[in-house]
Amino acid sequence: MLLLLALGIGTLAGCGVWLLLRARTFDAILGLTLLSYAVNLFIFAMGRVKVGAAPIIEAGKSFTLANTADPLPQALVLTAIVISFAMTAVLLAIALRAHAQASSDHVDGQEPRP
């Protein structure tokens, strides 16, 4: 499962970086979205992957990380998701406006001269 998770994060991050390096705003936004998914999964994985353990204290079990999942990375992921979602919305608004004004979705606001 760890390998699968690592491969997933790697694929998302790789696709994100590749899209980010293209000079179109739409591609860049998609790239940033994929990158933020990869980062969110990465944060989650940094709390150690554990199956069948809740991030809360259960009755009758001592609260060490052997019995529970680490709740902190889950809280961090939640914050990161909210922030990256909001930022993507801001960036979309800026990109739409830039596209409407320049009638080009090149990141420089004009098509490159051949």
């Binding site: 990158l35 980062v39 990465f42 150690r48 009758g60 001592s62 961090l76 922030i83 960036l91 606001g109």
Partner: protein, 534 residues
């Protein structure tokens, strides 16, 4: 009566809460009571200024003042900490913000919606970034100040501004992704996010984790270098700053200082040469060299600039380069000199952005560095240009000179001494030449261009314009006149910064305030009864 008595021990969090409340109130006032918006915004900013002065007086005692948000003890809850360095930067933020806000009252604040609320949120993010002692909290405050700066940058849009915004936002979002990766890696290795606790835990790391920790530390420094405009990562800055409206650009001048502050804090507290562990002095070799290269490129950029705003933007890069050099050299003397220089350079660069806007207004709205007719009554602008140029280039009477001289003296004992002397002096000369050339083109050559049509009179300056530029330049002059006390303060701040232990002890030693009704006590009892705690 000190601020601590006045605010019942909540003084450290007050610079964050005050702009947050002010910004939110301003959103509500905007529609129905728009007359009151500038008044409330100005009052809040001046209150922040007073608060920052109070905190500076408090911090000058030399203690570190921790504050536990949510009243949880340090490594578990989020902590803030006030020391000399953060108090100094808070005051600097408040002074620059007051200047920029006064200037914006001259009309820039009405070019688009929500200017004043975004301005206050920006101040909240800045204050939070300077005060926090928690790494993830630092990320959150970075996002707050970045989100506000996206809005401010777009303010009164336009083709150039939109293009610069797209670049700026994409670049910073990528930086945020890196920040998160670095923070979560550090958490995975040490199990803590508190900066003081990290400083302790990083030194006790297992040898097999050394490479991962170094990677995380360097990634963090890359993120801060993006904000501080260090060499390979400064390309966003000149376009962005040149495209922003004047008061926003003046405020952004303090935003690069957030990056500088974060690098100073990390490289002393967590990754310092004396910190121990695999990450000790992780970038100590590279930082001064990169800073010197930044300085050289900033000087070349200033010489090659074709617009006044572009020239000023390269002055920001040069100032960041000098500061990072001072921090990178890492002795008490160089850091003290760097902090002294930071005060002067931030104030004068902010004044420059405001001044550049007025100069281009006097020339019919263009800041291209070519002879143009000047409107009548430009003489005060010329005087201000001279004072600001002297201050930023580091020519004798003003504090820019004192700061650079002190830095050169202090750098004499470091291995890079010869390079530092040659490149700092060389870049100062290049900046002086580019400013002298710009000044003579702007003010002395208009006779060669078409004669000013008699209809072209300087629009009467709004009092806010005159007051803001005068305030910032007066602060620069005050910095030179009060060089003695100021240098004593920055010297003490540098010493405090390089001593890690008092900061660590203060943050980790802070105890929660006993509450009248303690939920945790009750929780603890119940868990004991159920036998959860064994």
């Amino acid at each position: 009566m000190s601020v601590a008595d006045l605010l019942h021990g909540h003084e450290v969090v007050a610079p964050i809460v005050l702009p947050l409340v002010a910004g939110s109130v301003l959103v509500l006032l905007e529609k129905a009571h728009s007359r009151w918006v500038p008044v409330v915004s100005l009052a809040a900013t001046l209150a922040l200024l007073a608060l920052a002065v109070g905190l500076l007086l408090q911090a000058s005692s030399g203690q570190v003042f921790p504050y536990l948000l949510g009243n949880w003890q340090a490594p578990w809850g989020i902590a803030l900490a006030l020391d000399r360095l953060s108090a100094l930067l808070l005051l600097l933020t408040a002074v620059v913000a007051s200047g920029a806000l006064l200037f914006s009252l001259g009309g820039d604040d009405r070019q688009g919606a929500h200017f004043h609320s975004l301005f206050q949120y920006q101040l909240m993010g800045l204050a939070g970034a300077f005060l926090t002692a928690d790494l993830f909290n630092l990320f959150v405050f970075f996002e707050v100040l970045l989100a506000a700066s996206y809005g401010l940058l777009l303010h009164g849009a336009g083709q150039a501004r939109l293009k610069a915004s797209v670049h700026y936002v994409v670049f910073n979002l990528t930086g945020s992704a890196l920040f998160l990766i670095a923070v979560s890696l550090l958490y995975a290795l040490t199990g803590t996010l508190n900066m003081a606790d990290l400083a302790v835990k990083l030194a006790q790391l297992q040898p097999q984790d050394a490479r991962l920790a170094q990677a995380a530390a360097l990634m963090l420094l890359v993120v801060f270098a993006v904000k501080a405009a260090l060499l390979p990562l400064y390309f966003w800055l000149p376009d962005t700053y040149a495209a922003a409206s004047a008061p926003v650009a003046a405020l952004l001048a303090i935003m690069t200082k957030v990056g500088v502050y974060a690098i100073a804090r990390m490289t002393t507290l967590m990754f310092g040469v004396g910190a121990g562990g695999a990450t000790a002095g992780v970038a100590a070799q590279a930082l001064p060299v990169l800073a010197l290269a930044t300085l050289v490129l900033a000087a070349i950029g200033a010489l090659a600039a074709t617009r006044l705003r572009g020239l000023v933007a390269y002055l920001v890069v040069a100032s960041a380069g000098t500061l990072l050099l001072a921090i990178g050299l890492g002795t008490v003397g160089t850091v003290a000199a760097g902090l002294f220089y930071l005060v002067n350079s931030t104030l004068v660069v902010a004044a420059w952005f405001l001044l550049a806007d007025r100069i281009s207004a006097a020339r019919g709205g263009t800041d291209l560095l070519e002879p143009r007719a000047l409107a009548q009554g430009w003489a005060p602008l010329g005087v201000a240009f001279l004072v600001a140029a002297v201050a930023v280039a580091g020519v004798p009477p003003l504090a820019g000179f004192l700061g650079k001289t002190w830095l050169l003296q202090a750098a004499g004992q470091t291995p890079l001494a010869a390079w530092v002397v040659a490149l700092v002096l060389g870049s100062s000369l290049a900046i002086m030449v580019s400013l002298a050339r710009a000044g003579s083109t702007l003010f002395w050559k208009p006779g060669e261009a078409a004669k000013a049509p008699s209809s072209m009179v300087l629009l009467p300056n709004h009092p806010g314009h005159i007051w803001s530029i005068s305030l910032l330049l007066a602060a620069v002059l005050a910095g030179a006149l009060a060089a003695g006390p100021l240098s004593a303060y920055t010297g003490a701040a540098a010493e405090q910064l390089l001593q890690r232990q008092p900061y660590i002890d203060a943050v980790l030693g802070a105890r929660p305030v006993p509450a009248a009704y303690d939920v945790r006590e009750e929780m603890h009892q119940r868990m004991n009864e159920r036998g959860d705690l064994k």
